[in-house]
């Protein structure tokens, strides 16, 4: 009898040796003449336990981790194929506290299934949403998404249903569904994990979007830094097409939807939606002036949905279980769940999907168990390189769009980067300006020139040259960039700078050695 053993193909798990562990298990099983079926799943997102090896037993899946190649013979000796005891044994995977306490809707299958198997996907509730959608009118699908309260998970938090309605309302013509998978924010990896661990959910979400608005072609704009996700997506698209879930006659409905993965080329700005559209058209990723909105004139000048990976991947659940089911999670105007990503100097980093409303402190200390270095945590940056730095005194803020906005921060794509007390916040403020200078598309002056001037000003501040006057200039420059930039890159680079200045002024006034 074949025993199923799961070893992730997730890039982060591979970065910690999961590939070598899988090979070692395969070799050891052959050496012992044992029948083992290796399944390369996604990651459960508990990265301090990766490589996490799971074994399917009659009472459920047993987890072992973190496993090294050297541990493999010992695991066989201990009887891990029957879920027996071993120093690395973590018990049943579903009972691991950090996983059990989550509310996984979007990540329900990630780490559970074989990511590129349509059969496995369907066996775990996949394609229920698409089947429901095929029985509904386009307007009813869009209404369901609107009623769910889903807001764009890429960072801007714009109501997804309203975007879709605008595209639906355009006269019939070639329309597009585009997925923004240019996940460039430091501290974020939810899109990557989902595309590697459950790509069919994204494909299903995009297919539903296409049917809802009358678009027959979809593009996934994937960053070039994600080669593992590219492979998983292309395998999953081929599998979906072979099973009739993509193509010219989806499940015999007569509806058509095709999907193609297009690679970016290392430009952070292409995560901005109009820049992404330019790049998809094969051009320089320069930001477009709005209006017109992409929903009216988007890709190749046609009505286009532009949604983030997690937004689109949330749609199948909404269709399968109903808008109310999804809306009942969350708080205030932040409905549903949010996959938070805990990163940086943190002991237990990983992916935590919960309803909105968890506090930063609960996230950092209950899930994260404090800093990796063991030193006190001094700051977190929420929402990527354009997000504000938040001091310890504000860690009781609930994680929802409005509560973070109220303290001058933003949730963005849900990444939380933790820094211990060795961080130099003036250096981080300088870096924010430097990053903007490197990644600016060059179209508008406040961003293109302002970021370079910002680096120069910060260098003078750090060298204690006319410090107070230069700090005043930094403030004024931030104001100009904030109000004068064409898009969020120049317009939000001031957030990390201003928040660092506000909460950590002492770091800007250190004695120069």
């Amino acid at each position: 009898m074949n025993i199923k053993v799961y070893v992730p193909r997730d890039a982060a798990a591979l970065s910690l040796g999961a590939g070598r562990v899988a090979d070692a298990i395969d070799r050891e099983a052959q050496r012992r003449g044992l029948q083992v079926q290796l399944i390369r799943n996604g990651s459960r997102g508990l990265f301090w336990l990766e490589p996490l090896v799971e074994v399917a037993t009659p009472e459920g899946r047993h987890a072992y981790g973190p496993v090294t190649v050297q541990d493999v013979p010992g695991l066989f000796d201990a009887g891990f194929l029957e879920g027996k005891a071993h120093p690395l044994h973590l018990g049943l995977t579903e009972e691991i506290e950090e996983l059990k306490s989550q509310q996984r809707l979007t990540f329900a299958r990630v780490g559970v299934i074989d990511p590129v198997s349509v059969d496995d996907y369907i066996a775990h509730g996949g394609y229920v949403g698409l089947k429901r959608a095929l029985a509904m009118s386009p307007g009813e699908i869009v209404d369901a998404v609107t009623q769910s309260g889903l807001r764009g998970r890429g960072g801007a938090a714009f109501p997804t249903g309203i975007k879709w309605k605008t595209v639906l309302d355009q006269p019939p013509q070639q329309k597009y569904v585009t997925c923004n998978a240019d996940e460039g924010d430091s501290g974020t990896f939810a899109d990557r994990m989902l595309m590697e661990g459950d790509p069919l959910m994204l494909i299903e979400g995009m297919t539903i979007a296409g049917i809802a608005v009358g678009a027959t072609q979809g593009y996934i704009y994937l960053r070039a830094e994600y080669p593992h996700a590219q492979r998983a997506l292309n395998e999953a698209i081929a599998a979906a097409r072979a099973s009739g879930y993509l193509g010219s006659n989806i499940l015999g409905s007569g509806k058509q939807f095709e999907l193609e993965v297009r690679l970016g080329a290392g430009a952070y700005i292409c995560g901005e939606e109009t820049s992404m559209l330019e790049s998809l058209e094969g051009k320089r990723g320069e930001v477009r002036v709005r209006p017109p909105l992409p929903a009216i004139k988007g890709l190749f000048g046609r009505p286009t949905i532009v949604n983030n990976v997690i937004s689109l991947a949330s749609v199948p659940v909404i269709l399968a279980k109903g808008a109310e089911f999804y809306r009942d999670f969350g708080t205030g105007k932040s409905r549903g769940t949010i996959p938070l990503q805990l990163a940086g100097n943190i002991k237990h980093g990983g992916l935590i999907e919960r309803a909105f409303g968890l506090t930063l402190r609960e996230l950092i200390y209950d899930y994260g168990v404090g800093s990796a270095s063991g030193r006190p945590i001094r700051a977190v940056q929420v929402g990527g390189p354009l997000g504000a730095y938040i001091p310890e005194s504000q860690f009781d803020t609930p994680i929802d769009y409005e509560a973070l906005s109220a303290i001058g921060a933003l949730l963005g794509h849900g990444g939380v980067v933790v820094f211990d007390d060795t961080v130099d916040m003036a250096g981080m403020a300088r870096y924010a300006m430097e990053f903007c200078a490197i990644e600016s598309c060059g179209k508008c002056t406040p961003c293109r020139i302002g970021s370079t001037r910002g680096v120069e000003l910060m260098d003078r501040v750090l060298a204690n040259i006319d410090r107070e006057r230069n700090l005043q200039l930094v403030e004024e420059l931030c104001d100009t960039m904030l109000h004068g930039s064409l898009c969020g890159l120049g317009g939000m680079t001031p957030f990390p700078v201003q928040s660092a200045l506000k909460h950590f002024p002492e770091d800007f006034r250190k004695t120069v050695q």
Binding site: R192, A224, G266, R284, A343, F435
Partner: protein, 163 residues
Amino acid sequence: MSADRALRDPLDDSVRDQVEAALAAHQGRPGPLLQVLHEVQNRLGYVPPAAIPIIAEALNLSRADVHGVVTFYHHFRQAPGGRHVIQVCQAESCRAMHCDKLTEHAQRKLGVQLHGTTADGRYTLEPVYCLGNCACSPAVMIDGELHGRVTPDAFDALIAPLS
């Protein structure tokens, strides 16, 4: 460089073959330039200047358009890189785990600065801004393989088997 001069150089004949193969794979699709450039770089290791007029003509673009796209994106290389491309993440999460020290170590160890290629053509060292491995910082990518929690010692061990 004019297209005529590019054609006279025998080295560029092989470039032309590879570029035409890349064009054949993507031409006809809407907005194919980025995908063509990826294919050229996958085949040749970089986008040589001689490729620009060939691509421009095939896609009915100006050479300036193609040059503009090649130079806009950090990923495209205009000169050959080393046999091994080593990318060290410089973004916030890796900074929180002291990637500055790792970068200094890598530069010392390889004898090359960021953006540089070693004199023997063995290594190219590049900065990268997020590899999506932020729960396992600091992150490094070597020839497309991702590595997490890379200490200076671990970095040395990763470099050792490369030829």
